[in-house]
């Protein structure tokens, strides 16, 4: 098991709409987080390059916080991946990136939040759909809170502190 990427709020990339707010937890420490809305789906992206030695099953671990919440309050998350081989020959590799995306199917999971305010919880999502990512590929990772999913009943913003991407090396 090897950590391949640590995705932080400061390095997130945002679309033109429905993006999470870059926010702060702890007025003294000023810990950056991404605040994902409770009512409307929001998402953001990270751009990375798949490292050499990349192998096996891939997992995303999302580190999440929320203010004190109801017992049994879950948030529901989706992680999707677009892998492009520069100069490669598949349909994915030849897209016009100015106008087109080619994400693989989403990988999803939900997590129960602690009722204690701002206590961290980790959600592990196995990235079964990795768009055939290989070493050297240009990778876009999209993280989304599916706020209107039936399994998402957390009534406040869910705060993403970081995300780790692991492979099986």
């Amino acid at each position: 098991m090897a950590t391949r990427f640590i995705l932080t709020p400061g390095s997130a990339e945002f679309g033109s709409a429905t993006f999470p707010q870059l926010a702060i937890v702890n007025t003294t420490e000023r810990i950056p987080v991404l605040a994902f809305d409770a009512a409307v789906d929001e998402w953001c992206y990270w751009s990375v390059v798949v490292p050499q030695g990349w192998t096996g099953a891939v997992t995303a671990i999302l580190t999440l916080l929320a203010n004190s919440v109801a017992a049994n309050a879950d948030s529901y998350w989706e992680v999707s991946v677009q892998a492009v081989t520069p100069g490669g020959g598949t349909a994915d590799d030849t897209i016009n990136q100015s106008t087109t995306t080619s994400y693989a199917a989403v990988n999803a999971g939900n997590v129960l939040h602690p009722t204690t305010a701002y206590q961290e919880v980790a959600l592990s999502i196995t990235l079964t759909n990795m768009d055939s990512a290989a070493a050297g590929d240009s990778l876009r990772i999209k993280v989304s809170r599916d706020a209107n999913h039936a399994s998402d009943d957390l009534a406040v913003d869910a705060l993403l502190k970081s995300a780790e991407i692991r492979d099986s090396a």
Partner: protein, 100 residues
């Protein structure tokens, strides 16, 4: 004053959740409990316009929200539903922020 549509009930519930998130309030209700409370108070206030209610406002909340919400949260919920029932959603937006 008019009964809110279910779409407007959802707008009010969204606005309340965002307000409480922005104000970093403790919200010990589930998303569905808030929407159910909005719907119940929408019906209660609309009925109260014509007939004296048989119960208090507090008794009109569904049990889960009644037990979980603070007095201030219940007060804001009633206030914005009453305001929304006037048809002035623009004013509701000024108070709660984006509700869509």
């Amino acid at each position: 004053m008019a009964l809110l549509s279910s779409a407007d009930e959802q707008r009010v519930a969204r606005g309340l959740m965002r307000t409480w998130s922005r104000d970093t309030e403790s919200v010990t209700s589930l998303k569905g409990d808030i929407l159910a409370a909005v719907s119940a108070i929408n019906t209660y206030l609309d009925g109260a316009g014509a007939t004296r209610p048989a119960t208090s406002i507090n008794a009109a909340y569904p049990l889960a929200f009644r037990n979980a919400a603070t007095v201030a949260q219940k007060g804001l919920l009633v206030a914005v539903i009453a305001l929304a029932q006037t048809g002035n959603l623009a004013l509701v937006r000024q108070i709660l922020g984006e509700i869509d």
